[in-house]
Amino acid sequence: MREDCERTRESLSRWVDGDLSASDAEAIRLHLGSCAACDGERRQLEKLEFSLKSVLVSDVPRIDFEPFWAGVRERIKKKPSRREAIMEWSRSTFTPPALVWTVPAVIVVLLGVLSMNSFWRLGWQRNNFAAVESIDAHGRNVALLREDETKTTVIWLYQNQEGEDESSGENAETTPSF
């Protein structure tokens, strides 16, 4: 295939859509006038578009507005079930980009807890600090370890071994000694 035929066929779809600049469209038009093969391709594409329109538009029945609106209105008036309300809340809260706030928020809370402990010596961990928090129902946990003497903080994400029962996860929340 000649180079200009190749270029024409690559742009033919956009040409049919009228998406080319005036100069590019004119170049295609001129080429089509002098190349029977590319013009045949153009005819095929236009016939495809016509057939697609016939199938996709003319075969769709007209729908009456009144019953359609009644259906929409019924949904609007219906009070969502508890499950639907929870699903909707979780969808809007835990889908990106809404989820973006959670990572810095968790870090800020953890650092806040650490700062409180080091400034006011709250007493619940005089020297060292450790906490384990379950993240979800799949056994994922976050552990926070703080060694006071060396001022070392470790944030550790881990998942319970399969088969480990819930009580072992709860036991892990007890403060270990260093």
């Binding site: 779809s13 859509d17 578009e49 199938v55 769709v60 029945p61 729908i63 359609f68």
Partner: protein
């Protein structure tokens, strides 16, 4: 004088359901047509179209007018339709059966624009070829061919760039052309 979409949206945001009714009356047929094309089943399409407007109503307060109302609405519709299609994974034959039923109805009540055998065959092959496209390719074809939307609007609806829309359209048309080469 007829209110613009944006004026009606603002009234909806102020709690006027009549304004929303007006928006539904403007777009219900267009939304339904797009969804029928995507889902290949008229009953499911009706459900999804109603769900689209229901979700739009619930989220209308978050619509700030950054894009046009119809692109926003189409985006909701296409997302629900693609989602539902993936969840259900219905037999593609459903559409052919539904559409075949419709062709027969049309034969009885009106003149069939595809009365010619060759055209009838082309139509059947075309429906089958559309069914074989991925939801994303089907969506660009429908939004461009049926609705005549610009590449930019399609990109906004599908959440992709104009370049992606262009290449998806090119690919989808090539695929359809290949499958229908005998008839075109």
């Amino acid at each position: 004088m007829e209110s613009s979409d944006w004026e009606l949206v603002q009234k909806c945001q102020a709690g006027k359901i009549d304004a929303f009714q007006e928006l539904v009356s403007r777009y219900h047929q267009k939304i339904y047509t797009v969804i029928v094309g995507l889902l290949r089943n008229r009953e499911d399409a009706l459900e999804v179209a109603q769900e689209t407007f229901f979700r739009a109503y619930r989220k209308i307060k978050s619509f700030q007018g950054g894009s046009s109302f119809y692109t926003w609405l189409y985006r909701i519709a296409v997302n629900i339709a693609i989602d539902s299609q993936r969840r259900q994974k219905r037999n593609p034959l459903d559409f052919r059966e539904t559409m075949d039923g419709l062709f027969e109805e049309q034969n009885e009540v009106a003149k069939d624009p595809f009365s010619d055998v060759h055209d009838r065959e082309l139509r059947e092959k075309l429906v089958s070829a559309i069914n074989d496209l991925t939801p994303e390719h089907k969506a660009v074809i429908i939004l461009r061919t049926v609705e005549g939307l610009s590449y930019k609007d399609i990109g906004e609806i599908l959440g992709c760039s104009e370049g992606t829309v262009m290449s998806r359209l090119h690919y989808a048309r090539k695929k359809l052309q290949q499958k229908l080469s005998v008839f075109l």
